[in-house]
Amino acid sequence: MSQPFLSIELLTQQFPDGQGGTLTVFENASFGIEKGEFVCILGHSGCGKSTIMNILAGLAEPSSGVVKMDGFEVSGPSLDRGVVFQNYSLLPWLSALKNVTFGVKARYPDWPAAKVEEHARAFLAKVGLEGDVVHRKPSQLSGGMRQRVSIARAFANQPKLLLLDEPFGALDALTRGTIQDELLKVWSETEQTVFMITHDIDEAILLADRILLMTNGPFARVAESVEITIPRPRTRTEIVDHPNYYAIRNHLVQFLGQRSKELAGQASDGAAQRPETVTIDLTEKTEDQSNPQLRAVND
């Protein structure tokens, strides 16, 4: 098996459970992400999604296991891995523009100031922030605008891997929709590799190439990797008409509603816990007529 762009190998995270014992969030989790892929991870609250993301970002150390990017082991945070935090994490004393140039300056220390600003403005424009708005402080921006700035900051740095932790969690449905579209647009222009946590099934289907499904913790597993067999470009109004849409959606709802609980709490016996690849494609002629909806492949 060839090495994927990002490979997570036998990742285990344990925390003290507060009563003298240990809490194993996940054990021997192993999966990969290809270059240019948009991967979403879905799972119930507390299963360890943020924990995985913090390890990928290099902000936290796993108890054991390694993360390799481009064949090199990840240790500590890096400009190659950009992060959009759930709570935006803009620096409140800087204007929107300055928040973006802050990142650009760190990424390209040799650039002259004018080039830094031009680059930052270009990325702010990509998420629809232009004109005087860019001089406002985060406190003077709406939640949606703040998240846009945060996305612009991450994309402007052109990291090899972009990590998004529930970026739209705090936004209303309408704003969410707009920013999802903008995110898709920026992503398709930049060919970034994106790893995103979300709670929203429809959001995941709209955005992702592949959805990783996590079972409940403790001993959570990345149990399935569901391919989104809906061609791009996608729009929220058109994908619902695609024959695969409801099949995929039902599968995800099924998993989160039922199987995430059934599969929970199993220790791993030291074996690598790889997700099972699930491809649901109703447009394709399948050989096995008895079960035309599901083709499971172990990789």
Partner: protein
């Protein structure tokens, strides 16, 4: 008629009314000068017979203020310098001691705020040293430093250091982990992180500490100068009291208040400049 004025205009009007009424009451409450025959022995001995003795009416203080402020920088020997020169000395001492304190307190506060070990290690010393009245250091300072000027500056140093130190440590320790993570994911080194993230994040708390410190320093300098003598507004007050020139005493008390207010408003301005809303 009052309804048409803004809140600030009404407040200003009320302030002026209070001032005028206060001054009138003060003026009216001062008894006429006693004739020389009615003076007690003590009054005669202490110079009470001179027209300066007794609490002066505000008109006299105003006249004094006019006289002093129209020529604030004259220098006619050690015991007769203009109010400007005296205040200048005091401000020089306050700023010297204060800046030295800031140079120590802010970096040290950073260190204490960044590290739990440093915080725990320094805490007992801070807790013991902080409640000591700055003037209590004076004899020790005079003995060790052997110089009254430097001792006064030392006392300012020691009294300004604590609020700055504690506030800096508190502000730095309270910087949101998210912002530190932003610095980390942008691979900023420790110095860049300190200057571009932690310092601006903690600045409002630090400036609040600096504002408290300058207020205390200005309170303490008057007392310190009364002790060490020579020059300065504190010495001036004491000297005029010895001369029984109460007009000058009252005038210099007012000047102490005005300078203190100006120092404080400079820091209030600074505080607004670094404030941010989350």
């Amino acid at each position: 008629m009052l309804d048409n004025l803004t809140l600030n205009q009404r407040a200003a009007l009320l302030s002026v009314v209070m001032l005028v009424v206060g001054l009138l009451i003060w003026e009216a409450a001062i008894p006429a000068q006693k004739a020389a025959g009615e003076l007690t022995e003590y009054e005669r001995l202490t110079g009470g017979g001179a027209p300066k003795a007794g609490v002066p009416p505000p008109s006299q203080v105003l006249a004094k203020a006019w006289e002093q402020l129209s020529n604030p920088f004259y220098d006619a020997g050690p015991n007769d310098k203009g109010i400007g020169i005296q205040i200048g000395y005091s401000i020089y001492r306050v700023l010297t001691g204060y800046l030295m304190a800031a140079l120590v307190a802010i970096p040290l506060g950073f260190l204490i705020g960044m590290s739990q070990v440093a915080y725990k290690a320094f805490n007992p010393f801070i807790q013991v040293l902080r409640p000591i009245s700055p003037l209590a250091w004076m004899p020790l300072a005079l003995f060790i430093i052997q110089d009254s000027e430097a001792s006064a500056i030392f006392v300012i140093f020691i009294c300004s250091i604590w609020p700055m130190l504690i506030n800096t440590a508190f502000g730095v320790a309270g910087v949101r982990q998210d912002w530190v993570n932003v610095a980390r994911t942008h691979e900023l080194g420790p110095f860049r992180t300190a200057f571009t993230v932690i310092l601006p994040a903690a600045a409002p708390t630090i400036i609040t500490g600096m504002r408290i410190s300058i207020g205390i320093a200005w309170l303490v300098i008057v007392a310190a100068e009364m002790l060490v003598g020579g020059t300065g507004i504190g010495y001036y007050v004491w000297n005029e009291w010895n001369n029984l020139d109460l007009t000058s005493v009252i005038f210099s008390i007012l000047m102490i208040g005005v300078v203190g207010m100006l120092l404080d408003s400079a820091f209030a301005y600074l505080q607004r400049a670094v404030a941010y809303a989350e």
